[in-house]
Symmetry: C3
Subunit: 324 residues, 3 copies
Amino acid sequence: AQAQSSVTIYGIADMAVQAGNRGAGSGTKYALDSGEQGGSRLGFKGTEDLGSGLKAIFALEAGIYMDSGASQGGLTFGRQSWVGLQGDFGTVKMGRQYTPQFYFFDAVDPFDLGFTSGVAGGSTSTGGVFGFLSASSWRVNNSVSYQSNDMSGFSTMALYGFGEVAGNTSANRSVGINGQYAAGPLYVGAVYYKQNDAASNGLKSVLLGATYDFGVAKGAFGYSKDTTDNNTLDQKGYMLGVTVPVTAADNILATAARLQNNLASGANNSTQLAVGFTHSLSKRTNLYGSYSRVRNDANINGGGLAVANGATASLANVGIHHAF
Amino acid sequence: AQAQSSVTIYGIADMAVQAGNRGAGSGTKYALDSGEQGGSRLGFKGTEDLGSGLKAIFALEAGIYMDSGASQGGLTFGRQSWVGLQGDFGTVKMGRQYTPQFYFFDAVDPFDLGFTSGVAGGSTSTGGVFGFLSASSWRVNNSVSYQSNDMSGFSTMALYGFGEVAGNTSANRSVGINGQYAAGPLYVGAVYYKQNDAASNGLKSVLLGATYDFGVAKGAFGYSKDTTDNNTLDQKGYMLGVTVPVTAADNILATAARLQNNLASGANNSTQLAVGFTHSLSKRTNLYGSYSRVRNDANINGGGLAVANGATASLANVGIHHAF
Amino acid sequence: AQAQSSVTIYGIADMAVQAGNRGAGSGTKYALDSGEQGGSRLGFKGTEDLGSGLKAIFALEAGIYMDSGASQGGLTFGRQSWVGLQGDFGTVKMGRQYTPQFYFFDAVDPFDLGFTSGVAGGSTSTGGVFGFLSASSWRVNNSVSYQSNDMSGFSTMALYGFGEVAGNTSANRSVGINGQYAAGPLYVGAVYYKQNDAASNGLKSVLLGATYDFGVAKGAFGYSKDTTDNNTLDQKGYMLGVTVPVTAADNILATAARLQNNLASGANNSTQLAVGFTHSLSKRTNLYGSYSRVRNDANINGGGLAVANGATASLANVGIHHAF
């Protein structure tokens, strides 16, 4: 009797057994963790047709550390919470939402923002290869975004995040834009993002990347550069990756990435190697495994995964990913 | 296969761009905020027919600051969480629920408890005209309420909120009652509410109001008086308001309200003026705008909206309200 | 249009008016509390058929203190959050989940883990007779469990909870196993559980119990023993209980339980007596009442329900329990 047609419930339940070692004698931690392939979540979304091609849309998405039942980041709907309008002009959204770089990461990273770069027992804090390479944020509060519709393969997204400081429109402000071109086997993308702190010092991120699907394998390349206005951070990184569909149900994933700390004059590289596989049990459910290793030079701690500069960290996962 | 008929999912996604100034040189804050027209929320409710006209009813309603994904007031289901029975005798509810004055505010305030009296970037803390005029609470924990059915236009609600202090039934206790008469274009309502603090000092609130729908416009009048047993607060206020249906899809709203601090002997008035509009895109979705201004005399800070006594505050909103 | 067949929403809304006294002149506390018969909750669960008898299953269950709208234990999905696989081999689950002893408590306790042993106004912290008798946990984070299918009436569950301490697999670790046999009117169960603290000192719990349904009444017997490796706790307890189906809609429940603190040489017993009734309004909704009393000797505070050793505590509830 009750009509529920305006709300769709969806989500992901993802758990893995882990063995992680952050190096420098820290010892191996065995753990059960949530969200290694993709963050565990429960979402509510809807679309209302307003006529003339116009639609009202919303999403409320709870991130869940399923190993403890806690909310991701302490926020009940911390993954996404926005409302917007969609039409011939594109999509406008307001709220807490993904940044332009998230969509880029999602498209270029063979590990799809998961698997490789977390700390054992650290819940959904994995971040794929770009969690290692990039200091920029995936989500931003108090923001308005515009996403274009597809224009012959090209699309773009621009975002403005209010700093919400009285008498100051610069402090805590975020601005960003991406552009991507997708046609057949090819994807090329680029991002610029600047995120100010309370003193209006900006963290500027530039990202470039491409993927090409050769059929027997899909190759990926990514470049990341982060600098701050007050020179507290200056790093750049590269990633090469491949996705190999071994069978209709099995994929092998691999990446090699290097991050360089330009504030140090030498011994300033961190290297991440990662391999993984997924085995589908259905369209919605798969098993997975992954192994990643980060080796820091003396003057860098790539992604903060090792306990300190100069240390070597590793992480192995075996888990299940179930979408609903 | 799975029957979900016993639960209805509903909610509101409401976001606005704001410019707010709390006066006295505090500077303008530009912000994106949640719940300006009506608090953003996700609710679950249900009704079970028990036979003989008796029904079991419940509601679990999460308030969401959609600008950040946080929960309203830090409570996962902080808007409403109650269970009850409904029948020929009326409705009894137990849990966290709306106070008798909430229903009065909702009926009398042209802004319907939204739009006008928040602080920019302050999330769902707007409170319409009565958020400015009244110090009494909208919701109360640990409470039992009784709501009568309609009796030839008259209805009433009584509420008792347990203080839950061992050996003391007075501390932290809340008691309240409302009465209203609605017939055709006329609504008249009154409320008495007393909310004790931990030392059993009561905040007593008296509210009176009426609305009359003339067709071309609906007029509203409200009166509010708050006093505490220990004389820490003594204020009264008046509100005049109007709702004008300009077209089938457009409404203009306006109110003028004055609050007086009786603990000061002069320069003790705060005046709020507010105008707003709503433009419906559908039955469930509308755009809105509003502007409100509070001018404090030297010995009052009406609703705490300005930074201090004697300052002048303003708030402008442009937003979207989507019910699902 | 939107398919929601993969998610089932379910829950319980349970509220009661209470009068509780923790003894020793603490005074009676009158309260409205949540979850006296069964913890108030909102859950989302699903099953996906993967073929060949294999299924993917998950549950996300929010515990709600409906008297305030807060989350149980401060965790959004703090009751259950797990994903697993189910098949001919049994069921494997990973996440935050019930311990082996929970299923034992649930089967043996006439009060079904509710009604009797909470503190007034303390929300869903009631725990039935075993909340009084046993110090072991109902739920555990970071855990993998295996539950067998039924084998001619016999079934078993084993659980391993990761301690997640680097270089140390013993600290904070939990391990447990249960076994039960159910045939016609008979149930017999046993549990062993060991839960280590950060210093690897284990709390060991042994539980034994049985129920037999004589038709006119169902009798229950339970035994509990808790000891710690470092001798900070050494207690054992017994429970006798009965459930009497007075009419098709009415049950009377009663238990007598005694807990003994073996670390004290005398005056070391705590006795709990509890009676209750349930009256069904439908299959999903019932009214209930209960009264329980705990009398401590001078050297024990059973279940921590009284204010101190030697005091006598009581709790009375009248409430409604609605499942959806």
